[in-house]
Amino acid sequence: MLKRLIAVLLVLGFIGAGLSLALASGGTGNSRKGKYLYRKNCRVCHVENGKAKELSPISMTQAQWKTTFDARDKVPCKAEWAKMSDKDLGDIYAYLWGHAKDSPSPAKCK
């Protein structure tokens, strides 16, 4: 039983490491879809004079976006995040990470 538990934990660990690796390189998400999903789901509040802090990809560095997405259960709007699929979140991440302020192509407009 213990062996089985360790094996499960190991597998989970590998999966976690895989996810981290994917996030580190921008993931495999579709950045263009992510831009659409970000505008639809996030910018509603994260806008100038909005309910939450104004945000755009250039609000953070790639490392900061990674940290945010790694600890997704700690974001203030985690309830909203929970409504989105992993694929949608991956697409949003690809957009934000790919156009972060220290990325090769920082977003031009908000």
Binding site: N30, R32, K33, Y36, L37, R39, K40, R43, V47, E48, T61, K101, D102, P104, S105, P106, K108, C109, K110
Partner: protein
């Protein structure tokens, strides 16, 4: 202006001429065609002075239009516009002719003959808009929304073309930038984390390579450099041509083309080997000095001298002089960098020397963009089209292409190949790739491969000539435009905007209205459900008193820090420092520091062709201007006397010039103002469109001769990779 002086016309005479043309328009004669009575809004009696923003080049200088009885008499500079130092150049003065020129497009035209045959018929705006909507739908349905490509020039309404493209669902948007500056942009972004604004006014030493700032004007750089030189700054110009900038410089070196990187690496070698670089700055703010020191060790001045045709002692001296003047010293970043297949790396070498001088964020060096706080206007949420392909048509063909700019060269190749997917529609606004893109034959072939091409312009450009539908645009002096933010180093960041100076002539319309109308017809009206006034209000929302200042002064400023902006902040690079060694390049398999490769020989009897500007015309948008055409009525092939003698060519002889891209016929200008291995011709002649009466049948088209290589990192067109043969035309 060689042409100007040879014709004995001074700038003062030119300005008189510009004023006279305005007067001619008022009395309804002379070189200016249309009558103000044709203005849709009629004539407003009396004299008025109105602010506007120049559109004769990309600089967008604020101006004051003097208007009598609804007719523009004269354009004056706005003394409150610091970015131009209260100047409006000769081109800007001639802007009145953009409005009253005889070749203005007057109403929508539909092609009825073969493409390029020039047979059009007049149609109504309703017919034009209905046709556009039908074609957007048909091509979008048949080839996906990415099957329609968009290209908009540097214009204050181009934002609406991009907005339309995005809500329509096409990623395939292009600008002129991939024929101009994106390699330089990439290089500085990948070194400093942003594109610098040179602090020319306070600099003490400038090395200018691959730029011609006293002819190809950039505000405030051109004026500030002149002032800085009056104050004792030294200018060293490296250029294979004796440009007007070279003529005004303290020193000019006729550098061998494609060897600028060798010069810069040797400068870096001297700065490091002689311990002349800013050690404190480099230690605190940069990444990779150890790697760079090792990298530039073999690049000695003696080695560079053989590459560049610049004596080693001069390279050493210039390095020492730069260091002595630092941090108020710079290698000027320049603008157009559409030169070579490794232009990004060449410009990286410029950036690296600047970093060693420690001039970033300091007086007389390179400064960061200042924040003026202009908003993005009215936000929108473009729909997502699941049927669309994954990416742009030109994606993946250059390592670090800017996804919002793309590459005209690579997109054109992809359209011609039909891979990875077909693109069959093309909307072109306020730009003219037929004249500005190297290898015109390929542009013709691309346009011929399209099912539907729409061009919107003020006159029948060559691109319009090849279109199915030609739409008459309002000139900048007839338009209401959104606000635009401008950067000007010590001149402060500012905001400008345009309101109509006179009522629009004929049936001309703004592109905003066209996009709005077509969007409505496609059921996308909600994305354009606002007025320009509302858009501007939103843009100015964060700038208290913004609109009042714009109406009162024609320009809005707010205070912002110029130096020391980065104190306590990270640099927006991968290492969060200024990257002498680019860690992202290393990860991607690119050279993390610029590696020099000597230019390949062009082969027997071949010379390299280079592109350049004069102060009279900017691209093709101003070449048909009747006033400017008097100063630059045609172009010539500059060829060195030694080569001319070998080829039995005399000044003024007709010659042919031939590359692998094409052949043109042109008159020779035999001159010492170019190297024996380099020929030059001014841009923008040899037009195909008879609708450009002032220049049709004159000169030769450089785009027909230039080869279309590209910078491997950005996809920037590499125009100087053109070897030509020249011969005297048989009598």
């Amino acid at each position: 202006m060689a042409q100007t002086s040879s014709r004995g016309i001074s700038r003062r005479g030119f300005l008189k001429l510009a004023g006279a043309a305005g007067a001619a328009a008022a009395v309804g004669g002379g070189v200016t065609g249309p009558r103000p009575a044709q203005a849709a809004g009629g004539i407003k009696p009396g004299f008025q002075s109105k602010y506007s923003v120049c559109d004769m080049c990309f600089n967008k200088c604020s101006l004051i239009a003097r208007v009598q009885d609804g007719v523009i008499q004269k354009l004056d500079p706005n003394p409150k516009f610091l970015k131009s130092r209260g100047m409006l150049c000769a081109r800007g003065n001639a802007g009145v002719e953009q409005v009253y020129g005889a070749d203005r497009l007057k109403y929508p035209l539909l092609r009825v003959g073969e493409r390029g045959e020039g047979k059009f018929k007049r149609i109504s705006w309703d017919q034009a808009l209905d046709l556009m909507a039908a074609k957007f739908k048909q091509i979008g349905d048949q080839y996906t929304r990415c099957g329609f490509m968009f290209m908009a020039g540097s214009d204050m309404q181009s934002t609406f073309v991009h907005r339309f493209a995005e809500v329509y669902g096409s990623y395939n948007t292009l600008s002129h930038e991939s024929m101009c500056l994106i390699a330089g942009t990439r290089a500085f972004l990948d070194t400093f984390g942003e594109v610098p604004i040179p602090d020319m006014l306070y600099t003490k030493y400038v090395v200018m390579a691959g730029a011609n700032r006293f002819e190809s004007l950039v505000t405030p750089d051109s004026m500030d450099l002149m002032t800085a030189m009056k104050n004792g700054a030294k200018l060293v110009v490296l250029d294979p041509r004796y440009t007007k900038t070279a003529a005004k410089a303290d020193e000019w070196f006729a550098i061998k083309p494609r060897t600028d990187m060798a010069f810069m690496l040797a400068i870096a070698h001297v700065l490091i080997s002689e311990n002349l670089y800013d050690k404190k700055f480099v230690a605190e703010k940069t990444y990779g000095i150890e790697q760079l020191a090792k990298h530039v060790k073999p690049y000695t001045p003696q080695w560079a001298a053989e590459q560049c045709d610049i004596p080693a002692k001069d390279i050493e001296r210039i390095a020492r002089e730069l260091a002595a003047a630092a941090p108020a010293a710079m290698v000027y970043p320049g603008r157009r960098s559409s030169n070579y297949t490794d232009s990004t790396q060449i410009r990286r070498s410029y950036a690296i020397v600047n970093a060693l001088l420690g001039n970033w964020d300091r007086p007389g060096g390179l400064t960061a963009a200042r924040v003026v706080g202009l908003g993005g206007g009215i936000p929108f949420e473009a729909p997502f089209y699941e049927k669309n392909p994954e990416d742009r048509i030109d994606a993946g063909k250059a390592t670090l292409m800017f996804p919002e700019e793309g590459s005209f060269k690579l997109a054109r190749d992809a359209v011609l190949e039909g891979k990875p997917y077909p693109v069959k529609g093309f909307f072109v606004y306020h730009t003219n790739p037929m004249q500005t893109a190297a290898n015109r034959s390929k542009t013709v072939a691309m346009l011929n491969s399209m099912e539907f091409v729409v061009t919107m312009d003020i006159h029948m450009s060559d691109t319009a000539w090849m279109a199915d539908l030609v739409l008459p645009s309002q000139t900048y002096l007839e338009r209401q435009d959104p606000c635009s933010a401008q950067q000007g180093s010590s001149a402060c960041a500012c905001v400008v905007m345009r309101d109509p100076v006179v009522a629009p002539l004929y049936e001309s319309k703004p592109v905003f209205w066209v996009m709005q109308q077509v969007a409505q017809r496609l059921g996308m009206g909600k994305y354009f459900d606002f007025t320009i006034e509302q858009f501007r209000e939103k843009q100015l929302a964060g700038l208290a008193g913004g609109m009042d200042a714009l109406k009162r002064d024609g320009v809005y400023y707010n205070p912002s820090k110029l130096y020391g902006v980065y104190e306590g902040k990270i640099y927006k690079t991968k290492s969060h420092k200024i990257e002498l060694f680019n860690s992202r390049y290393a990860e991607m398999g690119l050279e993390p520091m610029p590696v020099y490769t000597p230019p390949k020989p062009g082969g027997f009897a071949r010379m390299r062709m280079v592109v350049g500007r004069n102060a009279v015309i900017t691209q093709s948008s101003s070449q048909n201007n009747a006033l400017l055409a008097k100063f630059q009525p045609t172009n010539h092939l500059w060829i060195h006397p030694d080569r001319a003698q070998e080829l039995d060519i005399k000044d003024g002889d007709w010659v042919w010039v031939k590359s692998k891209a094409g052949k043109q016929r042109i008159k020779a200008k035999v001159t010492h103002e170019t190297r024996p291995d380099t020929v030059y011709m001014a841009t923008g002649f040899g037009v195909l469109s008879p609708g450009l009466q002032n220049i049709y049948g004159k000169g030769a088209c450089i785009a027909q001769v230039l080869n279309d290589d590209f910078d491997s990192i950005t996809g920037n067109m590499a125009m100087h990779e053109t070897w030509v043969r020249v011969g005297k035309e048989a009598a």
